[in-house]
């Protein structure tokens, strides 16, 4: 008979040597950098053109996102329909994403079709024409979507907490209202396109099963354009945080849940505390076994889920605790959150718990490095933040070795309730 009460022997994940597969770097004729990972059994690839064209650079609220969205909505020779049909005929997906600093155009395709698709991507980033009627449809549908989202307590809470932390003028804190959509014009979009795409600053990432001639193809499609790569981040915008720290908002009088956001400003990725906080955050609310989850979900049943995380910004950041809890237990949930924060400042994390968190984090990074798209994702974050491979290996060392006393010191420094904003939206 086996003894089922006894766990099998394990190799502690902290004993594993994690290896981040190095990228290959190519430089196109115009200086554009291409970072690539060639790996994977499936005959697929992912290509991402990352422009520095996000909302940090926009001259009107919502302009960066709208311009990015409309890159698929018409060139001088093709309608939106024709562009979509071309990608879809080859079973490919062309997506656009607009963030704070960057705005991307990406392609997911079977590797065998990539050469049929690159010329169209070139066309989109050099010859988009922003038709009036496409903009009108975009405005109308975006406003409709916004009106639905504004009924959701979580959506409203996410907007407000960022505005408190950074100020409504800051790229990380501003949000859109219907009038912002109304104010958009195709002329503004053309100007944004001209400056930040056509003559823009770009980095290219590609991963998967890469055809042998891919770099020649990329060079012939993008190497003659007036775009280039520069690793200069834009100058920092001024943060004007709200002076009031506590908020209660009634968004839906019939709401049965409250969206809770408790957050504080936090220095960015380059700050010496950043890696250490990743470990402390995991203990607090960074995974299913975290203290917030164990207490507020698994012991009290106040919520379906509670999480904490550090926002992934290039510059200043914020540390956030986020949950949706029953309306009648929302206040009790917040009390428990503060209790857990306080406990971390008063008692060192015991070794067993800390080992579990270390093992969990290492195991999850190991799983996360599985596959070319995940690997290039890690590199993208490192490269765009002007870091290098050492950052990855240092963060592994931190996870494996940071002592409990140091985490308690960090708790005392960062988990003081008076530094945290508190918001409940029902």
């Amino acid at each position: 008979m086996i003894d089922r009460a006894k766990s099998p022997l394990i190799k502690d994940a902290i004993e594993f040597n994690l290896h981040l597969k190095p990228y290959e770097k190519f430089v196109l004729d115009n200086g554009v950098e291409v970072y690539s990972i060639h790996a994977g059994a499936q005959e697929v690839l992912q290509l991402e053109l990352v422009f520095f064209a996000g909302n940090t650079y926009e001259k009107q609220n919502g302009l960066a996102a709208a311009t990015n969205y409309m890159l698929r909505n018409g060139t001088s020779t093709k309608t939106a329909f024709q562009i979509n049909e071309h990608f879809e005929y080859y079973g490919a997906y062309c997506n656009r994403t607009s963030n704070n600093e960057t705005a991307s155009v990406s392609l997911h395709t079977l590797s065998k079709h990539v050469n049929e698709l690159l010329p169209l991507m070139r066309e989109m980033i050099t010859d988009s024409v922003f038709p009036e009627e496409e903009l009108e449809i975009y405005k109308q549908n975006s406003k409709q979507k916004l009106s639905v989202n504004l009924q959701k307590c979580d959506f409203v809470a996410n907007r407000l907490i960022d505005a408190y932390l950074f100020g409504e003028q800051h790229p990380y804190g501003k949000y859109l209202v219907a009038a912002d959509y109304d104010a958009l014009t195709t002329d503004m979009m053309k100007a944004h396109f001209q400056q930040y795409y056509k003559n823009g600053n770009i980095v290219i990432f590609v991963a998967g099963n890469l055809p042998l001639d891919l770099f020649a193809q990329l060079n012939s499609q993008f190497g003659d354009l007036p775009i280039t790569t520069s690793h200069q981040l834009p100058k920092k915008d001024i943060i004007i945080p709200a002076s009031q720290k506590k908020y209660r908002v009634i968004n839906d009088p019939n709401g049965v849940q409250g969206a809770i956001r408790i957050a504080r400003p936090f220095p960015g990725r380059h700050h010496p505390d950043f890696m250490n906080i990743m470990v402390l955050n995991a203990v607090l609310g960074g995974f299913f076994g975290s203290r917030l989850m164990s207490n507020i979900r698994e012991d009290k049943g106040y919520t379906y889920g509670i999480h904490s995380y550090v926002q992934n910004h290039f510059q200043d950041s914020a540390w956030m605790i986020s949950t949706e809890a029953g309306k009648d237990v929302s206040e009790a949930t917040m009390e428990e959150i503060y209790k857990e924060m306080k406990l971390l400042t008063e008692e060192p994390i015991d070794e067993e718990e800390l080992l579990l968190v270390r093992n969990y984090l290492i195991g999850s990074i190991l799983g996360d490095l599985d596959g070319p798209f995940q690997i290039i994702g890690r590199w993208k974050n490192i490269i765009l933040n002007n870091l290098d491979h050492q950052y990855f290996y240092d963060s592994i060392t931190t996870i494996k070795t940071i002592p409990a006393e140091e985490l308690m010191g960090l708790s005392k420094k960062y988990l003081q309730p008076s530094d945290w904003y508190e918001l409940l939206v029902i």
Partner: protein
């Protein structure tokens, strides 16, 4: 081509092994042949609530998550109307931990009343978060009740109402466990950096001694053919009017399933799809429109749903949808359009197969359907679909008497 080996333990547990030496990880996936369709109509939402309880400690192990996290693993689970699936991923060296944990909770749960108390609350919050506190959150509850008269797809996996979840008892939990959570009603898939020999030895060691249990033979009421259109109107505090239309389609193993799946792609599979182009872009009647189906095991529903542009009348929006359907029924599609949706399907499958976790879960799902080999045959089935079949099915499915319509009006 996804390679795998299959064997069955003496207690009836089916085991599939898929080796992939390129990953440092291993995945252990256990599927149980029970879903929301197997629930008592007075105790709906139970299969899903039960899934939560599977993490509340087993007979010999007080905590499921902790030892797994200690071994560098993570896990999750999901319940559908058809099945319940549990999966975990961990460094391949530590795979025995997953065998230990999974086999103990198949052997028996701890049946802890505190865990039941807490998870009832957690699931009620999940219910509120997704179906009560969200605009249009109740639309699918209403649509299922409209479209099905006897089949248990009448209710959603989360359950008909909060009360059913609130009233679940520990006796219900025990009965459910002994009826469904047994080796004979389960499939184990192990994938990643492991060998077949290793899996044979470990599964014999940990799962071999578990009593087989009784095979659950499902006898669900068959939904009679719908003979007249059905319709329903609601008014709710939402900003926009929305249209929901559903038609009955075929079981997952019916050959016509593939034809139906391609029809949804043609109608709304992307920026060049028919409904999007005609109704969102050209006529601007909808701000979004979607055509899809759940891929359910028994005969499911094909749906078209969309939010109307403010000021557009429901009747006009609906007529425009039907105009596109009629065009499909009369003119069919071109060879090029058919090739497009086949190409999309091919690439979707290739992307899905990238993750070892997806491969493991898919193998388990296909084996549950009756044949794990389907994982390697499906692409062919899609490739074989003809224009003529598509034309015939668009006529059969979109028959007026087969249709269910929900007008979801804004109250302002």
């Amino acid at each position: 081509m996804i390679q795998y080996e299959k064997f069955t333990l003496e207690n009836g547990l089916r085991v599939l092994v898929h080796t992939d030496e390129s990953t440092p990880m291993a995945v252990v996936n256990v599927i149980y042949d029970v879903g929301a369709r197997d629930e008592n109509p007075e105790k709906t939402g139970f299969a899903h609530l039960f899934e939560h309880l599977m993490f509340g400690g087993s007979i010999n192990i007080p905590e499921y998550d902790e030892p797994l996290q200690m071994a560098g693993g993570e896990n999750n689970a999901f319940t559908t109307n058809d099945l319940t699936n549990y999966y975990c991923q961990l460094p391949a060296e530590n795979i025995e931990t997953a065998f230990w944990l999974e086999s103990d909770r198949m052997l028996s749960l701890a049946f802890d009343s505190k865990s039941l108390d807490v998870q009832r609350k957690v699931v009620c919050e999940e219910f509120k978060e997704h179906y009560i506190n969200k605009p249009y959150g109740d639309a699918w509850h209403k649509m299922r009740e409209l479209a099905y008269t006897v089949h248990p797809y009448r209710w959603m996996t989360i359950g008909k109402e909060l009360r059913h979840v609130e009233e679940a008892t520990l006796q219900d939990v025990k009965d459910f466990f002994y009826k469904h959570y047994t080796p004979i009603n389960a499939i184990l898939v192990v994938a990643g950096n492991i060998t077949v020999e290793q899996v044979k030895e470990l599964s014999q060691k940990w799962f071999g001694p578990i009593p087989s249990g009784t095979k659950y033979n499902r006898q669900l009421p068959v939904e009679p053919r719908q003979t007249a259109p059905k319709m329903m109107e609601v008014k709710a505090s939402v900003p926009l009017d929305a249209l929901y239309k559903c038609w009955h389609i075929y079981p997952r193993l019916d050959k016509r399933y593939y034809v139906t799946d391609l029809i949804t792609e043609i109608l709304s599979g992307g920026g060049s799809s028919r409904l999007f182009q005609a109704l969102v872009k050209e006529k601007q009647l909808f701000s979004n429109i979607d055509c899809s189906h759940y891929g359910s095991t028994d005969a499911g529903l094909l749906s078209i749903t969309g939010k109307l542009v403010k000021g557009v009348k429901m009747k006009d929006a609906e007529a425009a949808v039907m105009e596109e359907i009629v065009r499909l029924q009369q003119e069919g599609i071109s060879e090029q359009e058919l090739q497009k949706v086949k190409n999309k399907t091919e690439s979707m499958m290739a992307f899905e197969d990238m993750s070892v976790m997806n491969r493991a879960t898919n193998l388990a799902m296909y084996e549950l359907l009756g044949d794990a080999d389907l994982i390697n045959k499906e692409l062919e089935m899609y490739q074989a679909v003809t224009r003529e079949e598509l034309l015939n099915e668009s006529r059969a499915i979109f028959d007026e008497s087969n249709c269910n319509t929900l007008y979801y009006y804004s109250d302002n």
